[in-house]
């Protein structure tokens, strides 16, 4: 059920791309796809980070079971966002892509964030969590840096109107502060 909801933005985008019914992309379809996939990447990152604060807010444990799925969907949307850039926008022009990644700061930030998501995606399984133990938690704290990089990537490419990126930066700040408060009020735990 939650899985289906997470797939919904992608499904709608596909329906628009294949012109099902009245659904369409705009006159610049590659840009529309890029923007939609990117914004859902950021949204899923925020949702993932919101799980623990939410669980503490309501005092119940059930939200935690969705955190991995939300995180993996964030990875999926961000990967597709990059694939759209690679395949449809730049059409595998490696020279231009290299130039972008090395010279356009916001693309460097975005690319680094994507790369950092890979080890997190790989180690998302129970098996890896057992193997890494307390190191797993340390590794997965990277998600805060990734979310910040995503916000910075978004912020840097907006032409003039900073409202939307600033909203996500505000959300991220609130989630970070919530997490600091939660961690601060916990008694020290033994290694998981």
């Amino acid at each position: 059920m939650v899985f289906a909801l997470c797939l919904a933005p992608l499904a709608i985008l596909m329906l628009r791309a294949f012109m099902v019914g009245e659904l369409r992309l705009g006159p610049n379809p590659v840009e529309d796809i890029q923007d939609e996939l990117g914004i859902w990447g950021i949204r899923f990152l925020m949702l993932t980070l919101a799980v623990t604060p939410f669980r503490h807010l309501i005092g119940q444990a059930w939200p935690v079971q969705f955190r991995r799925m939300l995180g993996l969907f964030a990875f999926a949307y961000v990967s597709l966002h990059f694939l759209n850039y690679l395949v449809l926008d730049k059409q595998f022009d490696v020279g231009v892509i290299l130039e972008d990644v090395t010279e356009r700061q916001f693309i460097t930030i975005g690319f680094v964030a994507l790369l950092a998501m890979i080890p997190l995606a790989i180690t998302s399984t129970n098996g890896w969590r057992r193997r890494l133990r307390h190191n797993w938690v340390t590794l997965h704290k990277l998600v805060y840096g990734i979310a910040a990089a995503g916000c910075w990537h978004f912020f840097s490419q907006v032409k003039k109107d900073l409202t939307e990126p600033l909203i996500y930066i505000a959300i991220l700040t609130v989630l970070l502060v919530a997490r600091v408060i939660i961690d601060g009020s916990r008694t020290p735990k033994r290694a998981a």
């Binding site: 791309a17 705009g26 449809l88 059409q91 130039e99 003039k160």
Partner: protein
């Protein structure tokens, strides 16, 4: 109305016959009523179902569909998304319209739309349009040569620049209530740029009155510069001695300059200008290499001999 064919436009840039005929199909499809600007007798017995010519390698310009042109716009006065101007400009009333002419000229004052346009013959110009955001279209504008219009005001020798200003009407332009940019939107050209034969005072597109989202009722078109220079919904023309302020340059001086000539060798600080995405080319189209001066180097390059185009971006 008789349509003149300006002799200094390359023959390859005149609409291929097939597209010129096919535009009626576009207009019909868009269900827009013809206006007094409907191009006249030239093709009345022609085959309206001739297919649009495919994009050929030898520089024949195939215009974008009217739907593309009227639904994908940057016009922050009506909102920030590309679809906002079409959606939110319905209450805008382009007539009656008045343009104030002032500054270093012998003939100044307020002129209404018919005073401005009436004495001239409307021409069709098919121009490439290149946005600074690295997308482009081909648009069949209708308008009058700016040089012919400006000469009527007899600019003096002190007039080194021509400045333009957009209307401020927050009651009809919701984007102006937010002020992402400082309104009124202002732009300017050197007198030589304004008098260049390519520079157009646009009154319509595809043979119909200019839609609100495209800058009704009068807008500038300077096809060798980035689109933000082609100011829309003009209410003031001023002849000035000094370089006039321009809105995007004020908003982000490191990113947008006064000249804003299309130049694949000078990147925007945050993205490349070497290529562009052609609107309407579809999901799987390759980006197109950007042309120096948007392909109009033959007509305008000598305006800039000796000017460092990287510093004067």
């Amino acid at each position: 109305m008789l349509i003149k064919r300006p002799s200094d436009i390359k023959p390859s840039e005149i609409t291929p016959e097939a597209n010129f005929l096919n535009r009626r199909g576009f207009i019909r499809a868009a269900s827009l009523a013809g206006s007094g600007l409907m191009l006249g007798t030239a093709c009345s017995d022609a085959d309206d179902n001739a297919p649009a010519a495919a994009l050929t390698g030898d520089d024949e310009l195939v215009p974008n569909s009217l739907d593309d042109i009227i639904s994908y716009n940057n016009f922050y006065e009506f909102g920030l998304d590309k679809s906002d101007p079409a959606r939110y400009s319905k209450d805008f009333k382009p007539k009656p319209w008045s343009v104030t002419v002032d500054g270093e000229a012998e003939v100044t004052g307020a002129f209404d739309y018919d005073d401005i346009v009436g004495p001239h013959t409307i021409e069709e110009r098919i121009y490439r349009f290149r946005c600074v955001e690295a997308w482009s279209m081909v648009v069949p504008w209708n308008g009058i040569p700016m040089a012919d219009l400006l000469k009527r005001f007899k600019p003096t020798s002190k007039a080194k620049y021509v400045a333009f200003e957009t209307v401020v009407r927050p009651s009809e332009m919701p984007g102006q209530r937010r002020g992402v940019l400082d309104f009124p939107y202002v732009e300017g050209l050197t007198i030589a740029e304004a008098m260049n034969p390519l520079t157009l005072m646009v009154t319509g597109v595809y043979g119909i009155d200019l839609p609100n989202q495209n800058g009704a009722p009068l807008r500038l078109m300077v096809p060798w510069k980035y689109g933000f220079k082609s100011i829309k919904s003009i209410v003031r023309i001023s002849f000035t001695e000094d370089e006039p302020p321009t809105t995007w340059s004020l908003a982000a001086p490191a990113e947008y300059g006064f000249y804003a000539n299309v130049n694949p060798e000078v990147d925007h600080p945050r993205w490349t200008q070497a290529s562009e995405r052609v609107i309407g080319s579809g999901l799987f189209a390759k980006r197109q290499p950007t042309l120096m001066f948007n392909g109009y180097a033959d007509q305008v390059a000598d305006l800039y001999t000796g000017l460092d185009l990287r510093r004067n971006f």
